[in-house]
C-alpha cells in the first residue's frame, strides 16, 4: 500500500479544480484557461504515471497481482464498504484516455459554448472525476456510486447546451442507463449477501467477492443484470437506441466525452467485474454476446450508410466499433481481449476527433446535413485533411490505429469462432463504404451550397495535430501499450500471456 494517495488525487483533482472556477464564475474569459489548467495538470499526472509504469520502474508492490497502485481504506464499516482503488494495465490506458479526451472536450467547446461557461466547465470536470472513479474503483459499492455520478453531468451537458430535441435526448439517456444500473445494484446486493452468508464477513471489495461461490442458477441472473447494465452503456445492439439521439443532440464536448469515454465504461465494467465475478455464467452467455456483437457491427454499418446527418453517421459508426470491442470481450482469449482494450483507446481517440471535426463544421456552416457540403478540400485543406485522416482511421485503414485493434480482435476470434470472425470481417469492409461516401460527398464533390467554411485556427489545428500523431503512433507502434495491457489480460484469461 502506498503512502502517497496518487489514485485519490487522480480522481479528486478535477473535482477540487471546480473550486478554482468559483471565484471566476461570471468571467468566461478566466474560466476557460483555469479549467484547461486543471485538465492539463490531470493529463500531465496521467502521462507521468504511464511513463513511470511503461519504463518498468518498480512501483511499491501491492497485495493484488497485476496492480501497480492500490489504496484501501474502510469507508462505511457498518456495510463493509471499502474505499478500494486500484490501477492495473487495463485501467491505466483508460485513465490516460480519460484525461486526454477531457482536455480535448474542453478545447473543443472553447468557442462553441458562450452561455453559462463556468457551469459547462464545472460539469466537464465533475464528469472527469466520475469517470476516473469508475476506472479505478475495485469496490463494487464505490464503483456503482461513480457509475451513477457520471450520469448527472452528462444529463445537464446534453440538456442545457444541446440542440434539437435536447431535453428528450437527455432524459432518454438518463432513464435508459439508470434502469440498467438499478438492476445491477440489486445484483450487487445479492452477491454481497451471498458472500456474507458464505464467509460471515460482509464486503463489497472485488478481491473478496471473487472468492464467492455463486450457485449456477443465481449466477445466471446476477450476470444477466450486470450484462444488461453494461450492454446499455456499450451499447450492444438492441439496447442502443438512446445513443444516436444523445449524440445528435449533445454539444460537441458532450459527444466527445460520450463516445470517447462513457461507452468505454460499459466495456471496462464487463472486463473488470462481469467476467471475473461470474465466469461460468459469462461463458454460457458468450454465444449470445458474440451474436449480438456481430449483429451490431453489421447493423450499424447498414444504418450508418442511410444517414444524412453526419453526427448521426459518426454515432452509428461508433456503435459498430464498440461491437468489435464487445466481440473481443465475448470470446475472452488473450489476443482478442488485448485487442478489445486497445480498440477502446483507439476508438476513443479517433471518434473523439471525428466528433470534434463534425462540431467544427456545424459551428462554421450551421448545418450537419451531408448533402449541403461539398468541395471542402479546396476551401479548407487542413480541415479536410484531418477529416480524411480520421475517417480513414475509423474505417480501419492499415497503418492507422483502429486497424491494429480490429485485427487483434479478429485474430483472437478466428481461432474458436470461424463464422463470427468471418462476419465481423465484413464489418471491417462495410464501414469503408459509408466512410468513402462521406468523404467523397464532403470533401471532393463539387460545392453545392456556398457555406462559410474557414480553415482550422491555430487552436483547432494544434488539437487535431496532436490527435493525428497519436493515431499514427498507435497504428505504427502499438507495442508499448500492448505490453502494459498484456499482463492483466493474461491474469484475467488465465493464460500465461499469449502473444498479442
Amino acid at each position: 500500500m502506498t503512502t502517497f494517495p496518487l489514485l485519490t488525487i487522480l480522481i479528486f483533482l478535477p473535482l477540487a479544480g471546480t473550486l478554482l472556477l468559483l471565484p471566476a464564475w461570471r468571467r468566461s474569459g478566466w474560466v476557460r484557461p483555469l479549467a484547461l489548467i486543471v485538465g492539463m495538470a490531470e493529463l500531465a499526472l496521467c502521462c507521468w504515471l504511464t511513463v513511470v509504469v511503461g519504463s518498468g520502474t518498480k512501483l511499491p508492490t501491492t497485495v493484488l497481482p497485476g496492480y501497480f497502485l492500490r489504496e484501501d481504506l474502510t469507508w462505511i464499516k457498518r456495510l463493509g464498504v471499502h474505499y478500494l482503488l486500484g490501477m492495473d494495465g487495463i485501467s491505466l490506458p483508460l485513465v490516460l484516455l480519460t484525461s486526454f479526451v477531457t482536455v480535448i472536450a474542453m478545447i473543443a467547446s472553447w468557442r462553441a459554448v458562450t452561455e453559462k461557461v463556468a457551469l459547462h466547465y464545472t460539469l466537464l470536470l465533475v464528469m472527469e472525476s466520475g469517470i476516473m472513479g469508475v476506472f479505478l474503483s475495485l469496490d463494487l459499492f464505490l464503483f456503482y456510486l461513480f457509475w451513477e455520478v457520471m450520469l448527472v453531468p452528462m444529463f445537464f451537458l446534453i440538456g442545457i447546451w444541446g440542440h434539437g430535441r435536447r431535453i428528450y435526448s437527455a432524459v432518454k439517456f438518463f432513464l435508459y442507463t439508470l434502469t440498467g444500473s438499478l438492476l445491477m445494484l440489486v445484483a450487487i446486493i445479492v452477491l454481497y449477501l451471498l458472500h456474507g452468508s458464505q464467509t460471515g464477513q460482509y464486503s463489497f471489495a472485488l478481491p473478496d467477492l471473487l472468492r464467492t461461490v455463486v450457485p449456477h442458477g443465481t449466477g445466471l441472473w446476477l450476470y444477466g443484470a450486470f450484462l444488461l447494465a453494461f450492454a446499455i452503456k456499450f451499447p450492444i445492439v438492441p439496447l442502443h437506441t438512446w445513443l444516436p439521439d444523445a449524440h445528435t443532440d449533445a454539444p460537441t464536448a458532450g459527444s466527445v466525452i460520450l463516445a470517447g469515454l462513457l461507452l468505454k465504461t460499459g466495456a471496462y465494467g464487463l472486463i473488470r467485474f462481469g467476467y471475473p465475478l461470474f465466469p461460468d455464467a459469462a461463458r454460457l452467455f458468450s454465444p449470445l454476446l458474440i451474436a449480438l456483437a456481430v449483429t451490431g457491427i453489421l447493423y450499424a454499418a447498414w444504418i450508418a450508410y442511410a444517414q444524412t446527418d453526419m453526427k448521426r453517421l459518426v454515432a452509428y459508426s461508433s456503435i459498430g466499433h464498440m461491437g468489435f470491442v464487445a466481440l473481443g470481450i465475448a470470446v475472452w482469449t488473450p489476443v482478442a481481449l488485448s485487442g478489445a482494450v486497445l480498440q477502446m483507446v483507439n476508438h476513443g481517440v479517433t471518434t473523439a476527433a471525428l466528433f470534434v471535426l463534425v462540431g467544427m463544421l456545424d459551428e462554421r456552416a450551421g448545418t450537419r446535413d451531408i448533402g449541403a457540403f461539398g468541395g471542402l478540400w479546396d476551401k479548407a485543406p487542413q480541415l479536410s485533411f484531418c477529416f480524411f485522416f480520421f475517417a480513414m482511421a475509423s474505417a480501419g485503414l492499415p497503418v492507422l490505429n483502429n486497424f491494429v485493434g480490429e485485427f487483434l480482435i479478429l485474430a483472437g476470434t478466428f481461432r474458436g469462432h470461424h463464422l463470427a470472425a468471418t462476419l465481423a470481417f465484413l464489418g471491417i469492409v462495410l464501414p469503408l463504404i459509408y466512410t468513402v461516401r462521406l468523404v467523397q460527398e464532403l470533401l471532393f464533390q463539387t460545392e453545392r451550397q456556398p457555406l462559410p467554411v474557414a480553415d482550422l485556427t491555430l487552436r483547432e489545428g494544434g488539437v487535431l495535430g496532436v490527435m493525428v500523431m497519436i493515431d499514427l503512433y498507435l497504428g505504427l507502434h502499438p507495442a508499448p501499450l500492448l505490453a502494459i495491457i498484456r499482463f492483466p489480460v493474461s491474469l484475467l484469461t488465465g493464460t500465461d500471456g499469449g502473444t498479442p
Partner: protein
Amino acid sequence: MSMVDLWPVIPLLVITAGALTALICGAVGPGRHPYIVAIIALLGAGCWALQPVPLPEATLPGVAFHPFARFFTVLFTLTGAATLLLSMEYNLERQIRGEEYPATVLFAVFGMCALVTASNLLILFLALEALSFAFYILVAIDLRKNESAEAGLKYLLQGAVASAFIAFGIALVYCGCGTLEIAVAMQGGTDTAGAPPLFIGGWGFIIIGFAFKVSLVPAHLWTPDVYQGAPTPVAAFLSTGSKGAALAALLLLMMPLKTGTFLHHPLWIMALLSMVVGNCAALVQTSLKRMLAYSSIAQMGYLALALLTVTREGYRAVVFYIVVYTVLNLAAFGALSTLLRSCDGEALEGLRGKGYVRPFPGAVLALAMFGLAGIPPTAGFIGKFFIFAAALRGGETMLAVIGILTAALSVFYYLRVVVNLYLNPLDAPPSGERVTLPEGLVFGACSVVIFFIGIHPGPLFNLVDRIIP
C-alpha cells in the same frame, strides 16, 4: 413522585410550556415573536434529549425515555423547528397571522414526541390523537383559501375513521392480552401458548389505521388533496413529521413482537401497491404538490418493504430512511414554497428556468429531487440501498426487484422538475422569491445533511444500531 420521575417527560413539558408562552407572547408582541419563542422551545427540548448522560430509569407509568424515544424526539423537534423557519415568510405572504400557528405546530410536535415516548397503548393512542388534532387545524389554517378548508375537512373525516380503527384495534389487543403495557401486550399477553386470535384481529385494525396515517395504498386517497390544499410548509411538516411519527409508533409496536409473520401478507400487498400506484400516479401529475404527494406514497411503499421483513435489520433500515426522507422532503417542500411564493398555482411550469435566477432554492430543490430519486452521492442513495439490502436479506427478492423497477420509473418525474428548473427557458422575470434568512438556514442545513449522509453515513449507522440493538 420525585423530580427524577419527571426527567423523561421534560422535553414534553418544555414543548408544552413553549406552546403556551407562544400563545401569550402573541397577545403581547405579535409578528415573529411567537415563532421565535416556539423555535427556542423546540431546540431546547431537542438539546435535552441530546444530552449524552444516561437518564435515570423512569418510574412514571406509561412513558419510557429509551434511546429510541430520544432519537426521535430530536428528529421531531428539529423537523418542527425547520417547519416554523420555513413558515415565517410564507405565512406573512399568505396573511396567515396569529400566534395559533406556531402554538399548533408545537402541539403537533408534542404529540409526536409523546408518541415515541409511550410505553402504554393508551398513552400511544392519546399522543396519536393529539398529533392528528394539531394537524387537522394546521391543514385548514389558511382561511382565505377554500382548498385549505376542504383539505382540512377531508383529513379530519378520514383521520377520524383511521383513529377509530386504531382505537378498536387497541381494544381488541387489550381484550386478548389483558394489558395495555406495550412490551407485554405485544408479546401476545402472558399466555405462552401463542398469540390469541383477538390479538391478531386487533393488529389487523391497527395496521389499517396506520396505513392511513402513513398513506399506504389503498388508504392513500386523502394524501394528494390534503397536500395540495394545505399551506406548503404544513404539507412539508405533514409529509415528514406526522409520517415519521406514525412509522416510529408502528416500529414501537412491532419491535416487541415475538413473531410478526401475520403482518407479512398485508404489508406485502400494501408495499407493492404503494410503490406501483404511487410512482405511476406521480408520473402524470401536473401539480408539483400532488406529484410530491404521490412520490411520498411511493416512498412509504419502500419503507413498508423494509418493515415487512419483520427483522431488526429491516427496522434499522426504516429508521435510517425516515431520517433521510425527512431531510429530503423538508428540502423539497421548503424550496417549493420559496420558488412558488409569487405564483398562484403550483404547476410544474412555474419552475421554468428558475434554477438560474434563483440559484440557491433551485439547487436545493434539484438536490432533493436527485436524493428522492436515489442518485448518489446523496443521502437518498444510501437510504434506498439500506432498504433494498434489508429486503433482499429478508428474502423479498421479487418485491425488491419490483421496487427497484418502480424506482427507475420514479426518476422520470423527479427529473421533470430538474428539467423545468435548468433546461427550460425562463418565461417571465420572477419577483418576490428572495430567500429569507430562516429559509436559507433550513436549506443550508438540509443540503449539508443530504451530502453528509450520502458521503459519510457511518455516524448515522452507528446511531441507528444503538437505538435498535
